[in-house]
């Protein structure tokens, strides 16, 4: 039996070698092995770890699946690797990008393997947030100049003698370490390591009405559950964040964008046309996100609910 296995493997390997031929094989033009199974037209969407991105994908997936007759595969990839996967054609679309100038230059302008897919319609903003119940007790806490005064409130076991500034997933855009240093704040940046961990921790704090200071971003469904107020940092000016080590200003407001694989954008048919037109508002996205994250609906069910109640929005995407 063992010999048979070895034989089968050897036969399989040589058959594969024959199939692939001995010519050049460009692995940057290679689809997922799970794509297009049984003759279905398949679109592969990349999902990022945060729930907003899951909502985009859920709704796009639902419409592609039920209204356009595609089969949709989703792959969870962080933003930067998603650019790479997008350029190789392993995924067809990235629906929510928070601004990656390096990648954009490399893939869109130089290599032309990725095509811009237009705006998502949502504007993203990163900042430092404290819970609103804390602002009611200490109204002046929302100015960064007063943060040192309150550092002792934010002390935890992880941050030692300093106040804790909680950061999230390693995939997020952050200058917080530089900010703490350059603004001379008596704080320690503690990396939660993933958004899931960060949300869990914020909810625990909120349940006990404990003070916390966290890196957070909008639009985000958690604001509906735990009201938070932004701490004002020195205002953002064009170019104040070019040198990552010397940043001492707030984060900009970023219009979130979509990107498509160049080949798919060109020959993706109705799916590509639909994804280019896909555009909705912050409220729409939050509605779906809340259903997924709080009511624990599956993304599919949440998307169905939203699609059923907002025909005027999505019908525009298909026209």
């Amino acid at each position: 039996m063992r010999f048979r296995t070895t034989f089968t493997v050897a036969a399989g390997a040589s058959a594969l070698a024959l199939l692939t031929g001995c010519g050049a094989a460009d692995m940057t033009k290679q689809a997922s092995p799970f794509a297009n199974a049984r003759g279905a037209k398949t679109v592969t969407l990349s999902v990022q770890s945060w729930v907003g991105a899951q909502s985009n994908v859920a709704v796009a997936q639902y419409i592609l699946d039920h209204k356009l007759g595609y089969r949709v595969d989703t792959v969870q990839v962080d933003e930067v690797p998603a650019w790479d996967a997008l350029s190789q054609g392993r995924v067809d679309a990235l629906l929510e990008d928070w601004g990656h100038p390096d990648q954009q230059k490399r893939y869109v302008e130089d290599k032309k393997t990725i095509a811009p897919g237009g705006d998502l319609g949502v504007t993203g903003h990163i900042g430092w947030f404290v819970p609103t119940y804390l602002v009611k007790q200490h109204p002046d806490i929302t100015d960064w100049k007063n943060l040192n005064k309150y550092a002792s409130l934010f002390r935890t076991a992880e941050s030692g003698g300093k106040g804790q500034l909680m950061d999230g997933s390693p995939s997020y855009v952050t200058h917080d370490k530089a900010l703490v240093k350059n603004l001379k704040l008596d704080y320690q940046v503690v990396f939660a390591g993933s958004e899931a961990a960060q949300i869990t921790q914020i909810k625990q704090f909120a349940k006990e009405k404990k003070p916390f200071l966290t890196y957070w971003y909008a639009p985000q469904w958690l604001f509906e559950k735990v009201p938070m107020t932004e701490v004002k940092l020195p205002p953002y000016k064009e170019g104040c964040d070019t040198d990552a080590a010397k940043v001492a200003c707030a984060y900009p407001r970023t219009p979130l964008r979509k990107y498509l694989n160049a080949g798919f954008a060109h020959s993706g048919g109705r799916a590509a046309a639909f994804l280019k037109k896909f555009r909705w508002t912050t409220e729409d996205q939050n509605e779906v996100s809340l259903m997924i994250a709080e009511q624990k609906l599956s993304p599919q069910e949440a998307a169905k609910k939203w699609v059923d109640s907002h025909p005027d929005v999505w019908k525009r995407w298909l026209s």
Binding site: G12, T28, V51, D84, S171, V190, G193
Partner: protein, 648 residues
């Protein structure tokens, strides 16, 4: 600080010199007395001296840019790596399409019949139930994707492993060269393998399959070599005297005689590959692992469990079936089995039947939602245990105390120690337990960490590992002793241990955050839960294997139960206990690294950062440091005899 070594040399009276351990220590102390003052004056301060580091940022960034820019044009990619990648994609796709064509009934029938054929009717029923459960949890398609990937990865691992094993089994020189490499590869955390593969192949199935092969092939190679070398010399002599050629000897005697080891190797390879399934999801493996990963991103323990259970079921079934194939008698001698033609015929019939009925996909109505009740249970646990529990305090308070009173002092202590004294301690420990070779490897690995410029985060990770190992050993030895002394306890523990051992490491992460908050404490907690089963099992086995005659004689001398345990069983089981420590350390390290995702920080966070931001300089250096740390920890805890000829 330079005086640290002086008191040690003071104790070296001639009486102590007689003992070997003291001799080793004295020699080390002498070396230290010469080198330490020199090192301390030349490079003062506790941290690794900056002058001795080599920054790899520039070359690594250049390399990564080069790969991205040349991936679609350079001949190396077009004519070699491209084909590898294509072959993997085609193979996975072929298996996947076959599985889909067979439909759920066909796959279940085939799995069950295969299990019946090699392992008997009871496991056949278990296999069928496991497959049906995968479908009932609504995970049929992801299960098939994972299965397709696993089939290809395991076949490739077995092929590579057997080739390497044959080479090592037939040539002494190759054996000496390969053995340390294979030993080392087995103790490294899987997370460290991901980045280099991603650099070359990009995110996706080929990278996932290749990372899995690198991780899963070593046990096959080791056990193949072991089996070939362990063949009975008399049998070989007999075959030789019959005039068989070298090749005939290999094919007709040595390989068949090594059947048991080969099947054990297959078993271990499958288990390693499955344990990689979730980790590989980080680099785009898809399937069940991806479901677990996505569910965890939205803090949905229930959904993570729904995807995790099929993985556990697959693992348990494959483990039992391959283990039974290794131990059992050949099928022909057993009554009541069925032949291959029948098995295939039934499979085809089942597949055709479902196809005709138009129910090739798992019927949508047959899905059982477990996510919601599980989530409710988790919520309840969190709501009631997190804080404010009377008397004992909540889990958050424990985590806080643990961080403040144990993790912080340990980390600060390690970072306060001058770098050369850390090297010295490592050398002393490794030499006392092992040989001068293991000590040298350990010291070099530790020094490499310093040279890479990640001394501080590595010591942070090390402090978490040490704390977690201490907790694991206390709990593990206690439970192991209880299990060894009572059959009932052992029977009750067995299924629990099985499940915990095969559960993907990722599934532990979110509940521990809910209970212990964000930080190093949850990372340590997850590591303890993951490493405990192995420690309990090895301890219990070791204690049970103690020579009954020795116990009997102790009892006849009137020793109480406690005396028997402390003075007979534990000393006689010393070897197993050391092995338990070694295994515990290796497993704990693997999870502490993943703990970077829940606030563990240090090296684990750096690797996650490197993967997430495509920053190879950070990620690869941290990955290399993890490799060195794993190597050092393994060598320091490795008893001398483990590497003897027969050890496996």
């Amino acid at each position: 600080m330079a005086t640290l070594s002086v008191p040690t040399s003071g104790t070296a009276t001639p009486r102590v010199l007689r003992s070997r351990a003291a001799g080793k220590l004295l020699l080390l102390a002498l070396v230290a007395a010469v080198l330490a003052p020199w090192a301390a004056t030349r490079w003062p301060g506790a941290a690794w001296p900056h002058a001795l580091t080599v920054s790899l940022d520039k070359p690594l960034t250049t390399a990564s840019d080069w790969v991205i820019d040349n991936r679609d044009s350079h001949p190396l990619f077009l004519y070699f790596l491209g084909h590898v990648s294509n072959a993997v994609v085609l193979a996975v796709r072929a298996v996947y399409l076959t599985l889909l064509a067979a439909g759920w009934a066909g796959v279940t029938a085939f799995g069950a019949l295969l299990a019946w054929r090699v392992a008997g009717p009871r496991l056949a029923a278990g296999t069928a139930v496991a497959f049906l459960a995968c479908g009932a949890l609504g995970m049929w398609i992801p299960t098939m994707q994972t299965l397709a990937l696993m089939v290809v990865a395991v076949l490739a691992s077995v092929l590579v492993g057997m080739l390497l094993g044959l080479a090592a089994g037939l040539s002494d020189r190759l054996d000496r060269a390969l053995r340390p490499v294979l030993d080392t590869m087995q103790v490294l955390p899987a997370f460290a393998y991901l980045l280099p593969v991603v650099l070359v192949f990009g995110i996706g199935v080929p990278a996932a399959v290749l990372a899995t092969v690198v991780y899963a092939a070593p046990p096959m190679a080791r056990l193949t070599a072991l089996g070939l070398r362990g063949a009975d010399p008399e049998v070989l002599e007999a075959v030789e005297s019959l005039g068989a050629t070298r090749r005939q000897r290999l094919l007709t005697a040595r390989i068949p005689l090594a059947r048991k080891e080969l099947l054990l190797g297959l078993n271990q390879t499958i288990m390693m590959a499955l344990s990689m399934a979730v980790i590989a999801a980080v680099i785009g493996a898809g399937g069940l692992g991806d479901r677990v990963y996505q569910a965890l991103a939205s803090v949905d323990v229930g959904a993570a469990l729904a995807a995790g259970i099929p993985l556990v079921l697959l693992a348990v079934v494959l483990d039992r079936v391959t283990a039974a194939a290794g131990n059992g008698t050949p099928a022909a001698d057993r009554p009541g089995t069925i032949g291959w033609p029948y098995a295939l015929a039934v499979t085809v019939a089942a597949a055709l039947a479902t196809r005709l009925l138009g129910a090739l996909d798992w019927p949508a109505g047959w899905v059982l939602g477990i996510a919601e009740p599980v989530d409710r249970a988790v919520d309840w646990m969190v709501a009631h245990l997190y804080s404010g529990v009377p008397v004992v305090g909540g889990t958050a308070d424990w985590a806080g105390h643990f961080t403040t009173w144990i993790l912080d002092p340990l980390r600060d202590g390690l970072q306060w120690l001058p770098w050369w004294s850390v090297l010295l301690v490592v050398a002393a420990l490794a030499w006392l337990i092992g040989t001068w070779r293991t000590a040298l490897t350990a010291v070099l690995a530790m020094a490499a960490i310093g040279v890479l410029g990640v001394w501080e985060p590595s010591l942070d990770t090390l402090s978490q590992v040490l704390a977690a190992v201490a907790v694991t050993l206390v709990l593990g030895f206690a439970t192991g002793i209880a299990a060894a002394r009572s059959d009932r306890v052992e029977r009750a523990l067995r299924p629990v241990l099985d499940v915990f051992q095969t559960m993907p490491q990722f599934v532990y992460l979110i509940p521990v955050v809910a209970l212990f908050g964000v930080g190093r404490a949850p990372a340590v907690a997850a590591a303890v839960v993951y490493a405990l089963p192995a420690v309990v099992r090895i301890t219990a086995q070791g204690l049970r294997q103690v020579d009954p005659a020795a116990l009997e004689s102790a009892r006849s001398l009137g020793a109480t139960g406690r005396q028997q345990l402390w003075q007979v069983q534990l000393p006689l089981a010393r070897r197993s206990l050391l092995l338990a420590v070694n295994q515990g350390v290796v497993l704990v390290l693997a999870v502490v690294i993943i703990g970077g995702l829940v606030g563990g920080g240090a090296l684990g966070y750096d690797v996650a950062f490197g993967l997430a931001q495509g920053d190879l300089a950070t990620g690869l250096v941290a990955g290399a440091a993890i490799v060195c740390l794993g190597l050092m920890l393994d060598r320091v805890t490795q008893p001398t005899g483990r590497r003897a000829r027969k050890g496996a």
